[in-house]
Amino acid sequence: MILICGSSLDPVIMFLRACWDSEHLAYRLLDLGCSEGKSAVQVDYRGWPMNGFIDGGDWRLDVTELTGVFFHSIDCRSEKVANNAYAACDAEIAALLNNLPCKVANRPAAGMSNRSKPLQALHIRECGFRIPKTLVTNDPAAAKRFYEECDGKVIFKSIGGVRSIVRKLSPRYLERLPLLRNGPTQFQALIAGDDIRVHVVGDRCFATRIRCSSVDYRFAWEEGFSLEMETTALGGDVTSRCLRLSQKLGLTFAGIDLKENSRGEYYCFEANATPGFSFYESSTCQPISSALGEFLGKP
């Protein structure tokens, strides 16, 4: 039996359930959005294998029955709780997911690396990917120098896990560089080319090529840009590098952000531990949900 952990109102979970329902896949939903603080987990951690049960109100599941868990906590990514993972993830649930002997996509502890993009960058380059020239600074003069060194082709974005819009460092923003004294920001050389999102499910990869003129394609429509997405093949050993990165970060399910430049070189930006895969699957019809079901459904 598969367990989904998250909110029933989360669009990603709604999408996944619709797919799994159509495939008559057996699963249970532990609705974290409706728990109202009531404990739904009774587990004895002392023994091994651990024993106990999860109570979903109208169902009860022994932990030994679980083949896999899909965990998607959108609350954990909000700015409000960026520094206090427990506030939203619930210590009890996080402890359970980190200890379950079955497959978990993903264990909360494994997802923590995504809260520091430069930390992930260090792991990323160890897996053989290029990373863009990056500057993390609270020094306006250093940011200005970096801008000039990169011929004005620079983007900036958040360092941590808080979702931010990637923006080009235009002259308008240069005027605001003194605000860096309030706190650091991450600047990167702009890499021209197609965005590629790779979803890793176990040892399978699904790659989507995104063609868009916007610096941050996720907000293309809001900014008046068009967006094209299609299934794509990955060149060279990019697939094995993606698998190596997921494994290194302890992620069984990941959304890896790449960019391929005109020379066919791949740059890697980050590996999302709670990827919004429904956005890509609904456009390309790649069977990501099915692959997740297959992966988590097998012991």
């Binding site: 930390l119 993390v136 706190g183």
Partner: protein, 224 residues
């Protein structure tokens, strides 16, 4: 030796350049002096409530705090010198993880985890003959330094505590243990030890062990 609250304070300018092959950072202080990553021979990392220069007056305080935490974590991982502790991300962000988080490591190293009573919300030891006697220790690499008296018949467990610390990716860890009939149970863990919780002689021993660890690590790095 220099104590730095964090590299992003009002009095410092921090720049860290990173690309596919290189990493270099510099902290420039208010008086014009500076510290590059190569000037740093070792870091003892402590938990601080990092904030930006004017974050207390800013509506974005939470955001800035998260950004600083993310930058510090990555930067300490980028440093070529010994860092005690170069904490993994989950331990950096989970400020006080419940003991269950460590269960796989407890099991691997033959340690017992205490029963967790959710109603009370605190650790409690079961199957224990009263009175419960807790012992506090600090693991520094290969050394276990006890506060007050070293418990009796603890030899084989010291090896387990050292191995547990190593498996967690740490070289410094404060541990409170309880000897039960079934073995050694862990009651508290802190990767950012508070030396004030140790007796004076233990504090000295911990400090000496830390100095030795930094010195030995640098000697090893130098010979590579």
């Amino acid at each position: 030796m220099r104590t730095l609250l964090h590299p992003f304070s009002e009095s410092t300018r921090f720049s860290w350049h990173l690309d596919s092959t290189r990493s270099s950072s510099v902290i420039v202080f208010k008086d014009g002096t500076y510290l590059t990553d190569l000037d740093i021979s070792g870091v003892l990392l402590r938990r601080t409530k990092a904030s930006g220069a004017i974050s207390s007056r800013s509506d974005d305080a939470n955001y800035i705090h998260a950004e600083i935490q993310a930058a510090i974590l990555a930067w300490i991982w980028s440093l070529p010198c010994p860092v005690i502790n170069r904490v993994p991300a989950w331990l950096w962000y989970y400020r006080k993880p419940p003991l269950q988080f460590w269960n796989p490591l407890f099991r691997t190293n033959g340690l017992l985890e205490p029963d967790y009573d959710k109603k009370v919300g605190e650790a409690r030891i079961t199957n224990q003959d009263p009175p419960i006697v807790c012992s506090r220790a600090c693991v520094v690499n290969q050394d276990v330094i006890w506060s007050e008296a070293r418990p009796q018949k603890i030899d084989r467990y010291e090896t387990a505590l050292i191995e547990f610390t190593r498996c967690a990716g740490l070289s410094l860890l404060e541990i409170v243990i309880v000897k039960t009939r079934d073995g050694l149970a862990v009651k508290q863990l802190d990767p950012f030890p508070d030396l004030s919780r140790f007796c004076i002689s233990s504090r000295d021993a911990i400090t000496e062990a830390l100095v030795k660890l930094f010195t030995d690590s640098n000697r090893r790095l130098g010979s590579q």
